[in-house]
Point group: D2
């Protein structure tokens, strides 16, 4: 399978460079008969889009999705769904001067060593531009999961630099440009980000993603575990350096008597496991958290080398996010939705559309 | 591909239940001509084995590996290498009373909901017994990586409960039953573990794994990233709840000017990235860290439900590790070795056995 | 995916050399709850077994299947089912003299060029001994297909050298050692085979396989077509040089008005298509035919070269079938059953356990 | 892996319906640095194109390939290469009347039963329009195979209805619209086709494909055999009902002494095997042959049923080929090239870019 594909049965293959003619994806394995239209992609793409606020990169693209195949009279036909977005705001001149330099902390150096050639325009294939298509593909997955299983996947920003949410309210998340769950902190965040941008630096972030409504039984031992696939899918997002399921690294300091989620007839008493045991969903909320590094595209000069083997000093110009973690929220949601969709189909393949087989608690 | 298989080109498929007749694996895609004998599996299997010290589970198995295929006159032939270990110390009576109860924090409940049937003997397929074959398969990967590329994969216990290493010395790691990098702390750890066992409780741990000698260029964008595959492989280990590459979650609080690894002609100045940028190795050490939860198999009673839908209280008897994280060290090494081996072959497939294409720093 | 694995969801991985310690397979993706016992493998393995009559190779093996995993209290659990057969009748001395010679028409030469090393004992991995595990794995597939969908897969010998069946009767097929559908011709075949064996030569054959009861809708466009997967699966059988679906090569000389299968309310008027259109089953019988070459293991000397680069003359001693096509009948059935099983699960994954959506004719 | 993808390492994913907005493909795993331009696709697409002569369908499309990604400054970068062709000549009104009828011999009926929905415009996904992208993708494979290994893949029409070539000359093949290897027969073929078109009927054909220059060692046992993958790839072409390797079905009537290819120091004495033994290339020409059925789109009325479950009579109007086999020649070449390319990379992955290991004859 192509390394630009993800999913065993609900398979998404993406293509395209940041400043090439277009980006796109091919989604295969979608159940037939699902209603879908080009308009339905807009909301999530807008959530992910650059230029949403002054706190994210100022690249502005229409990001109009064209459905090239797999949909007939507004419904999926079961054949591959190809989506295309033309790159309209390419400004390749912004990047012309970095073709011969390896920017520290970027994939420039590794792509060069792997392939002996690289597309330097906007980071080429390594740009987060690629994640647009993940979000687009996940629009279809989210819709099917919601309609068929009542599953809802939502994310929020759980930390930015040293600031963590003081309170938590899902309804706040979509009301501010930070996907922040505490509306009262938004002014503080705006001030923080303004200062950061002025300093020319960037900062890391943590994003949490939660899927409600996942039935027990999704996921497969041993190398097809739901948490294993989530880990891979989330780690594949640009700038992600860590993935946790449930309590994650906090479990290192816990006792077994504290971590295990006891079961009562009316439900689990806790969810330290993050909704997954033995790689299979428990029926509780599936909870994951990712760490995003501070982007390396900053105005503060950094030392590096160039193609000629000489030492150079690099300053990244152009449009860049001081905190890529903000826009990562819909991307992390997308990856969780894609993984769940894939496992829903995988479970149905092996075990059928079975009813309850054991006392189910929630 | 089977969900009990891992690796795209160096493919390992495992089978077997904890208390079934045997466990085993089939390794495919191994380069031909590699010398291998049954004796070579002993060292790493002993490192992983239960009963190594009083601090780990007392299950004692010979764990004699039989090579069933793929090796002729002491060398791999390029055909599938099947390895078999008979289960000799099964004691299934220890587990007889849990067949109708869902132990809290175990996969009992999820396997039941997925399949409608489960093998309750020793945890069946969800037992860490399966990881024996990962370690066995990785013996071959480690050997090839070392001989062909000079790659060395090593792990150590980086935290146990609230205790972290005070000093660091690779040579200490193999000299104590905890894979602990500071010999001076071993008496403290022994006391800690003895107290824990007496309390009937368990504790979490952190394991770090480091691969030296990995050349730049291994790994593939986008869904075949080296860190993505490592995340999946490490998360698939029993009890793992979190995976970090390089600085991991510490990056959340960092600035870009602090995180990016600057490059000089004589090397990188730091390794916050953990040896991977854009999903591809940089030529620095590849560094990963995993969080292991405290096992749920403890002597302290916990509340649960049974198959009949009644509330029950569960106490886990039998042999169990108070800290599964200790024995996870060779398993984590194994998973990193398997991922690196797979990517070495994948890189050679697409890019050939190329020499240097760009100024390489280390 | 390993090249020693077949099937996307019902995945069979085989291992083992002809004269190594054992052969075996790992079956993954099997639906849980299917009753299966070691005794159930005997019938099909006997049908495939060597030494069944004087017309096939005289190697005699017990071929006792041991179930190593994936079955608990007589039912599949959904985890990998490993099957093992020890090689008991190895007689490696028979083959000792061919280690340094490339037998004409064998895989000796190609394995050597690929791997630079080969296991010469009995053909090693390239021996038809491997197909034993295909037949074993298909016992499970056949049972599930029959119980769940009423599908029955049957094969017969449709030509041997220049002799074709004069009549056709399914009930005759299992009553003679040739799987021949016309009982009256059996004496003629016996005489033919006796003469052939005396001449020291071998002969080709054609095997037909038919699956009844396959519902319409199995198979996937474009590269997952049911006929594409059948072609691959059947061509993978040792000695097969051609595969036909339905009319196969006879279609070359047909007119469209003659080939197309017209539809009436009470069914199709013909089955030139062999039950597959556009890669998807029509609901008619799925019909395939394979050509098997005459084995190259004959007593008539042939010219070849050896490892030292010298010309040599080769005579194959030992036990060999004058017509490998005879024993290929249960193997071809097995491969069709494995492909159908895989597609049954794949169809359920994407399209669910749906009822009728269109007027169905048979 | 998506069923609309083919190839393990050189992976081609196609998308698009006959009368949708566009068709396209994503090619992944291509070695970096290969020069490629949009102009290079023209020749093979023209060879495949409809409307090339009066003997093929009159659909006329520009079939202009746009490279959307994976190529930078005229060279492949190692990232996915997306190719797009807009459908410009759709004429969907031609097909409007068949939306509610199942045409006999078409995929209408099977797609409907599988998905419960189908795109009836021009056959939707089941149209041979899809093969355009196979030919386009294979342009890249052919170029790499030629430059790197000196492999050349060529096909020709080996039978049309009852007419077989009287003579054979590769140089004639590209000089007539039938890919016919005997120039002297072209007038006869033209008359034959004219009569066929007047009769409103269609006819079957046989296409042969030959790859010269394939080194020994490509292909993998057991389910990744070179002939197994060729069988699947060739059978996946629209209208193909049979695949042969080397002597194919002629081997049924042969003796072992006749079929086996003896080896001398200066080469094989024959090539009955078609260049493949044990699933691995011998170093001789790889030879395959396919049978194509007569298309079901004919002017002669046929009986069928419609969506309402009523008997109907169907006449196919619109543009159709009286012999789809003619245009299948470049498509069959394309599939062989894709399979060889994939196996070249797979071989390099496991066995490296090794030199000669044994006396090689040709």
């Amino acid at each position: 399978m192509s390394s630009n594909s993800t999913g065993k049965l609900f398979t998404v293959t993406t293509f395209g460079e940041s400043h090439g003619p277009a980006i796109g994806c091919v989604i295969d394995g979608c159940p037939p008969g699902l209603p879908i239209s080009e308009e339905e992609f807009r909301q999530d793409l807008d959530r992910r889009a650059t230029g949403k606020s002054r706190h994210t990169s100022q690249r502005r693209e229409a990001d109009e999705v064209e459905i090239l195949s797999g949909v007939y009279e507004g419904r999926t036909t079961g054949t591959p769904i190809a989506l295309l977005i033309r790159n309209t705001d390419q400004r390749s001149k912004d990047y012309g001067d970095i073709a011969s330099t390896f920017r520290p902390g970027h994939a420039d150096y590794t792509y060069w060593h792997k392939y002996g050639i690289r597309d330097p325009r906007g980071g080429g294939r390594s740009s987060a531009r690629e994640t647009t298509m993940r979000v687009a593909a996940a629009v279809i997955a989210k819709k099917w999961l919601a309609e068929r299983h009542g599953v809802r996947v939502r994310g929020y920003l759980a930390q930015i630099g040293e600031i963590a949410p003081a309170g938590f309210d899902w309804s706040a998340v979509e009301q501010n440009p930070f996907f922040w769950p505490d509306a009262a902190q938004v002014p503080e965040l705006e001030k923080y980000m303004d200062a950061l941008r002025k300093s020319g630096d960037s900062v890391g972030a943590r994003v949490n993603v939660v899927a409600d409504g996942v039935p027990p039984g999704w996921g497969e031992p041993i190398y097809g575990k739901l948490d294993g696939d989530l880990a891979s899918a989330l780690m594949s997002i640009n700038a992600v350096k860590g993935v946790e399921i449930g309590d994650g690294f906090a479990a290192v300091g816990q006792r077994g008597s504290q971590h295990r989620d006891e079961m009562h007839l009316d439900g689990f008493t806790s969810n330290h496991a993050g909704g997954i045991l033995g790689g299979i969903s428990t029926g509780q909320a599936v909870v994951a958290s990712v760490a995003l590094k501070p982007t390396s595209s900053i105005l503060i000069p950094g030392r590096s080398v160039n193609l000629a083997g000489e030492p150079v000093e690099v300053v990244t110009k152009g449009r860049h996010d001081p905190c890529v973690g903000i826009r990562a929220t819909p991307i992390a949601e997308a990856m969780m939705a894609l993984v769940l969709m894939d496992h829903a189909l995988r479970h149905r393949a092996q075990c059928g559309d079975v009813g309850e087989v054991a006392p189910r608690i929630t």
